[in-house]
């Protein structure tokens, strides 16, 4: 008899939906059906029981081919290379649970290396702004139950976070928002007419790369300097700016969701900084919150776990072993790779091969490269060692942090069939490193 598992967490985007229904085969090894989930989430669950999955570590041979090895051999290989390396880098964690991220912290503290997560190439600028200006935010349920004004700025949930608008923001009927979309005003700020802009009440077609100016214009209006505004700011006419500022200032509860359109266009962290400042201004006259549209289901996780472990969310330099250091630009993965500073690379739960600039990958490729990931991807195919692991939310459960930093407890739905999870694998590597360090001391 196939078995139905309910309340399953989805390991795709930062929505971290926890209402998925998965039907699995009698032997608990196959995913048969997936419900309540977007198209992308469905594929991740289906992939869990795909015949194409790699189930054994593979080590590159002198002739360039990959040969299956045991987990024990893979752990030994990784530990020995970490022990020898002077400045190894472990990077990734978009798709691992928090238990794995905590174990990774232990590995890199023991090895004395660099530790970084995908924020370094997505919401790192948001961290920089938060360091300077704070983060007045809320949980997604507050938006659902209270928000009458929603702003999506530089983010396109219709494609990147498929259920965001229906579960949390525009469409749901919450406690104080019983009329759902009818009583909410939705404002989208984007240079493109996106599918999200298509459902907005107002679309501000900001000039590409000029978001900061538009924020500044809103701040001027909110602070009483509307008269000094020019006729057009960042391609948006003054009347429209005044209209939207009026809506914002009269909100009962407003939320701004921002994405890569702000963190990776001109201005970067300054865009987020002024977005936070605008939120602070608006809190003098209304109630406003702001939230980063974190990309993956647990990419908020490493920032959370490493903050309690080391006090810094990303770009960690642990090479001194006695204390941690963080200085994005100096200790950020891409910058170090571009300068060819690291002498071993561990890609975990992401695909640096696809996401990093080609010169960075070329430098990293000169040194031992390990990929720890359930899937075949560009990183795994150029690795010296590929260690397959469980997919969080499919073969293993664990705690993950949703984009609003709410912890969601994920479930295991199928038998891992001999695959190790990230936490177990990393703790075995750390145990072996402890032995090597003790022998070396």
């Amino acid at each position: 008899m196939p078995k139905v598992i309910e309340n399953v967490g989805c390991p795709y985007c930062g929505c971290s939906c926890d209402d998925v229904r998965v039907t699995v085969s009698d032997d608990g090894k196959k995913v048969l059906e997936v419900e309540n989930v977007c198209a992308i989430g469905t594929e991740i669950f289906k992939h869990g029981s795909s015949d194409h999955r790699i189930r054994k570590p593979r080590l590159r041979q002198p002739d360039g081919s990959m040969k299956d090895i045991t987990y024990e051999e893979a752990i030994e290989w990784t530990a020995q290379h970490l022990y020898k390396a002077k400045k190894p880098l472990m990077y990734g964690f978009g798709s691992t649970n928090c238990e794995g991220q905590a174990a990774a912290a232990r590995v890199m503290e023991t090895a004395g290396g660099m530790l970084d997560n995908c924020a370094t190439i997505c919401h790192g600028p948001s961290f920089l702004a938060i360091f300077d200006n704070g983060y007045p935010t809320c949980t997604l349920g507050e938006v659902k139950n209270r928000a009458d004004v929603i702003v999506y700025w530089g983010s396109n949930p219709a494609h990147a976070h498929p259920r965001h608008m229906s579960r949390y923001s525009i469409f749901p009927r919450g406690f104080f928002t019983g009329k759902g979309q009818k009583k909410r005003t939705v404002i989208v700020v984007d240079p493109r007419y996106t599918d999200t802009a298509n459902v907005a009440d107002i679309h501000l077609r900001v000039k590409q790369g000029h978001d900061y100016e538009l924020f500044d214009a809103f701040r001027m209006v909110v602070n009483g300097h509307a008269d000094d505004l020019p006729d057009v700011v960042a391609d948006v006419p003054k009347e429209q700016i005044l209209e939207v500022a009026e809506i914002m200032a009269n909100a009962r509860f407003g939320t701004t969701f921002f994405g890569m359109g702000l963190t990776h266009s001109d201005g970067r962290n300054h865009n987020i900084d002024i977005a936070i400042s605008l939120t602070r201004d608006l809190n003098k006259v209304a109630k406003w919150t702001i939230m980063a549209m974190r990309g993956h289901y647990n990419i908020a996780g490493p920032g959370v776990v490493w903050s309690w472990t080391f006090g810094f969310p990303y770009c960690l330099d642990l090479t001194k072993k006695n204390y941690a250091h963080m200085n994005p630009g100096e200790t950020s993965s891409v910058d170090m790779a571009m300068r060819d500073e690291v002498d071993m690379f561990i890609n975990i739960g992401t695909d640096a091969g696809a996401h990093f600039p080609i010169p960075a990958v070329q430098h990293l490729k000169k040194h031992p490269w390990v990929t720890i990931d359930p899937s075949i991807n560009m990183a795994s195919e150029i690795s010296d060692l590929h260690i397959p692991v469980c997919i969080c939310g499919v073969d293993v459960g664990g705690v993950v942090y949703r984009m609003d930093n709410v912890p969601i407890q994920f479930r295991q739905v199928i038998d891992p069939q001999g695959l190790l999870d990230d936490e177990t694998l990393l703790n075995k590597i750390a145990d072996r490193l402890d032995e090597l360090n003790a022998q070396g001391a």
Partner: protein, 571 residues
């Protein structure tokens, strides 16, 4: 079967009434016992002070807002004393941060001060799995956490309808769901109001939509707590924190306890624990006329034996304020204009974080500093008055030795007062300069272990050297019969124990971490008949309003680490 005996120390144990006499303390299998065999390992405590392991009744060390504070303040890690001075790692993991230390530093630092059990003062129920992840990564010290109830929609609705039994059943369910220990209430109603950008500034200020007053919430939570007979009382952070003239609101709040009597099997006597009282004891009607109301407030507390308090002393450091009192933090950022984090939590609570510099040359800060110490010095029953800094709000817990120094030495107080630029204003607005009371070690033992343990309903396990208690012991390098005349040496002795023993294991020796036995998660397990009405209400709220499914809300058993349940049966 491990045995240990601590010989010839000056023992201070208010639970068993030992007031500095020389005595031996015997330990077997992690518990205090009457005697051990001749094979027991012996520690010579001659010329040293022996107390039970410290108990912190109110601290913010694990959970989402603590951690957002760590995340948003990289500067808290920089240039802070020994951290950047090439400290050699003592424990298994590195130690980072000053006002909001990493979990490892938190555990090690408390152990070095001789503390072995701390109570996290605010757990947003929705975020409980986060709290438990951090407890897992905090070494040595046992931790409990109090879920917040004062702005919880279930409680607001039940209490508005005077449904104490239903409210109690919901509380029992939530304690199990979050592995929480007791009832915390922060700015009752005010944080819910803050979700609309408003506040409840006194106990009669109604909560928007819910149409209930803070006074009704407080009384309802007292009644629910005593209905259940929980080990701890209602743990209250009242309305109007931090503002000039708020002491009248504080007195109004405390008077709500009149007529209530503690009902429990744990030896607890209070029905309200009013936390960080310093922040609630101000006179004046502006920052210019700001002054201490410590005497007025303590005159009331001294008479009301169903109330306990902790001080919330200002330590004169740069620190990080954080509280579930969202509107207060918004108010604070409008005063100091530093960075501000806020997180409203659906149906339950909110929080805010603002860095703060307690500059001793500011007269207001000097007055706050004096107010906290006055509360301790005006106190009559030290079993009801506890030392805290509301860590990290008035300063980091690592400054407890400094608070102890100030309370024990008038000379130290006057020296600090003398170093303040606003000295004249501080003297005029407070009584501190004229108070020559100096607390003794027995009183300090009451304020830092025996008292808080009794108020938490756990004096059979913690804060005690009586047989049967956990063998949690602090040995300080302090000759109780010849206290140093230099007060700095008192601070020094309380900063680094000669030995800290946790459940019979020596964890600190000579001020350094030497072992890291696993800690416990302490929680309250209430057994009572299922309440179908409440279960129906819970299902409804999760279907309609929460964004997390009910089945994923309660902390999974395997996400709670080494739990230790205190059992309560409600017939």
């Amino acid at each position: 079967m491990s045995e240990l005996i601590i010989k010839n120390g000056y023992v201070f144990d208010p639970i068993s009434g030992i007031k500095g006499d020389k005595a031996d303390i015997a330990i077997k299998d992690g518990k205090i016992v009457d005697k051990v065999s001749a094979k027991a390992k012996s520690i010579d405590a001659n010329g040293k002070t022996v107390m039970a392991g410290g108990v912190d009744i109110h601290t913010h060390v694990v959970g989402p807002k603590v951690n957002l504070g760590r995340e948003m303040r990289p500067e808290d890690k920089l240039f802070r004393g020994s951290v950047r001075g090439g400290i050699v790692k003592q424990g298994k993991r590195m130690e980072m941060g000053f006002s909001i230390p990493s979990t490892w530093k938190t555990g090690y630092s408390y152990a070095r001060l001789g503390y072995t059990y701390v109570n996290e003062a605010a757990m947003p129920p929705l975020m409980a799995p986060h709290v438990h992840e951090e407890i897992r990564d905090t070494p040595i010290i046992d931790i409990s956490a109090m879920p917040v109830f004062g702005n919880n929609w279930f409680c607001l609705e039940y209490l508005k309808n005077k449904e104490i039994e239903n409210n109690a059943a919901y509380i029992a369910w939530l304690l199990k769901a979050t592995y929480g220990v007791g009832i915390k209430c922060v700015n009752p109603g005010g944080t819910e109001a803050w979700a609309w950008g408003e506040n409840c500034v006194n106990i009669h200020d109604p909560v928007p939509y819910f149409d209930i007053t803070p006074a009704e919430i407080i009384k309802g939570l007292i009644e629910s707590n005593e209905y259940l007979g929980l080990p701890h009382s209602l743990h209250l952070h009242g309305n109007n924190l931090g503002n000039p003239g708020n002491y009248t609101d504080t007195l109004d709040t405390l008077k709500l306890a009149e007529g209530y009597k503690a009902k429990n099997k744990f030896g607890r006597t209070q029905v309200i624990h009013n936390t960080h009282l310093q922040f609630h004891s101000y006179k004046g009607n502006s920052w210019g006329t700001f002054g201490s109301a410590a005497k007025e407030v303590m005159d009331y507390v001294n008479k009301a034996d169903n109330i306990t308090i902790d001080l919330g002393c200002v330590t004169l450091d740069e620190t990080t304020t954080m509280t579930a009192d969202g509107p207060f933090e918004h108010h604070l950022q409008s005063l100091n204009h530093l960075k501000w984090a806020n997180c409203d939590v659906e149906l339950e609570t909110g929080s805010g974080i603002v860095p703060f510099v307690y500059d001793k040359d500011s007269a207001v800060v000097g007055i706050q500093w004096a107010t906290g110490l006055e509360l301790g010095l005006y106190a009559k029953d030290m079993m009801r008055v506890f030392i805290t800094t509301d860590h990290p709000n008035a300063g980091p817990f690592t400054r407890y030795p400094r608070i102890i120094k100030w309370l024990m030495s008038n000379k130290a107080r006057l020296a600090t007062l003398d170093s303040m630029k606003g000295k004249a204003k501080v003297i005029a607005a407070t009584d501190l300069a004229s108070m020559d009371r100096e607390l003794n070690l027995y009183e300090i033992a009451m304020m830092t272990r025996a008292g808080p343990a009794r108020a938490l309903g756990m004096s059979n396990m913690y804060g005690s050297l009586a047989a049967g208690a956990d063998a949690n012991i602090a040995i300080y390098d302090l000759d109780a019969k010849k206290l140093p005349t230099d007060p700095e040496l008192i601070e020094e002795a309380f900063s680094k124990t000669a030995y800290t023993i946790k459940e019979g294991v020596i964890v600190v020796q000579g001020g350094e971490i030497v072992a890291e036995p696993p800690n416990h998660t302490v929680w309250t397990k209430v057994t009572m008949p299922e309440n179908t009405q409440v279960m129906r209400d819970i299902k409804e709220k999760f279907t309609k309003s929460y964004t997390v499914n009910l089945e994923n809300y309660a902390v999974f058993d395997d996400h709670v680490y080494r739990p230790r349940a205190i059992e309560v049966d409600v017939a």
